[in-house]
């Protein structure tokens, strides 16, 4: 008996595949699908393709009013509210290459590659011309994506439609994340090495 055959035959015993096992596995997959269904804003995060790590949200302005802070981008909603948003990224991997944010990454990435992605993404966000966002177009695209997602969900599980400044914020940040992804890709950087997050507030 050659080595290959010995090694193949050395695999520890596993559960015999039977129709019953197949049924249990199908049921488990269905239960997992049900358990993973988003309940709140996570559905919208899915549309954006970003992980919201610190959402303050509409109406979360402090009692003392908004205090300008570095990295916060001011904007005015269509209804005249004064708002500001902060978009940032965090690394997907720790210094040992283990995933600490986001999804598992295919392949191996060095710490230098991780740092390069983080630096490039943050530089991009810092220099981004937020005023150049075509807000009406962004809102149209957002609503189309939102409608598509809602149509795929059972009526009882659909989330409320975003409105007002909340919706406008998500529509604009969706454009920024799209552009960031394209920018990193154009520079030969795997965009999955950074996980995006956003905060915003209005008064």
């Amino acid at each position: 008996m050659d080595l290959n055959e010995l090694l193949t035959r050395s695999a520890p015993p596993v559960t015999t595949r039977t129709p019953n096992l197949d049924r249990e596995l199908r049921d488990l997959a269905a239960a997992a699908e049900q358990a993973a269904r988003p309940r709140r804003r996570r559905l919208r995060v899915g549309i954006v393709g970003a992980v919201v790590v610190g959402v303050l949200g509409v109406g979360a302005a402090s009692a003392t009013g908004l205090v300008p802070a570095p990295g916060w981008v001011p904007w005015t909603s269509s209804s005249g509210k004064s708002c500001r948003m902060q978009l940032d990224v965090v690394p997907a991997l720790d210094k040992h290459g283990n995933v600490i944010n986001g999804e598992p990454l295919p392949g191996h990435f060095t710490q230098a590659e991780q740092q390069e992605a983080l630096d490039e993404a943050r530089a991009f966000l810092a220099s981004y011309d937020y005023a150049s966002i075509d807000r009406p177009a962004a809102i149209r695209a957002w609503k189309a994506a939102e409608a598509k997602v809602r149509a795929s969900e059972p009526p009882g599980e659909r989330q409320p439609i975003l409105r007002g400044a909340d919706m406008e914020q998500m529509a604009m940040s969706r454009v920024v994340w799209r552009d960031l992804k394209a920018h990193l890709t154009a520079h030969g950087i795997n965009w999955r090495l950074v996980v995006s997050g956003e905060s915003w507030r209005c008064e």
């Binding site: 035959r9 559960t15 015999t16 019953n20 596995l25 199908r26 488990l28 598992p104 295919p106 997602v149």
Partner: protein, 167 residues
């Protein structure tokens, strides 16, 4: 998450879940743990449907990548049972297993005595049926590095099994 991506993931899980279960069964002490780990893997896959690759081959690798992370986390933490896998756990507690050839135990011991860097590579290739390139990807290795480690592992195994392997 679109209906298309959900449909694709259902198919990918249907095609891969038996192999994923076997992957866990071969690496944990208890088959009940394997049920929990498979449940966690499926849950994470459903939560990341937006990242599901388009081809069946890449979907399989994607699912095994998630599984590898779930397994790594399992090794670092206390086992957590989930209600999600209750029924599968019950099923596995009484279900029959595949035969265990007489000589398998000695070979398995030799595999388990390999260096960490070689052992998982051999297991992925010979126990789980991955190619060297696929195993390298799952382990985050350069393919040429994996080939070198695999050759060294085979040499070590040949020496360890000198009395069993025919020349």
């Amino acid at each position: 998450m679109t209906p298309e991506s959900r449909a694709m993931l259902r198919i990918a899980l249907r095609e891969t879940s038996t192999d994923l279960l076997a992957y866990f069964e071969r690496r944990v002490r208890s088959r009940e743990d394997a049920a929990d780990l498979l449940g966690e893997t499926m849950l994470q896959a459903w939560r990341r449907t937006d990242a599901l690759p388009e081809t069946a081959e890449r979907q399989r690798m994607w699912l095994f990548t998630i599984a590898a992370h779930v397994l790594a986390n399992h090794a670092r933490s206390v086992r957590r049972r989930t209600a999600l896998a209750d029924r599968l756990r019950d099923h596995l507690s009484t279900a029959p297993t595949s035969p265990d050839p007489a000589e398998a135990s000695a070979v398995r011991d030799a595999v388990l005595r390999l260096h960490d860097a070689q052992r998982e590579l051999v297991m992925l290739i010979h126990w789980d049926g991955f190619t060297i390139v696929e195993a390298a990807e799952l382990l985050g290795l350069n393919p040429s590095t994996a080939r070198g480690r695999y050759a060294a592992a085979r040499q070590a195994l040949r020496q360890a099994l000198a009395e069993t392997v025919s020349p």
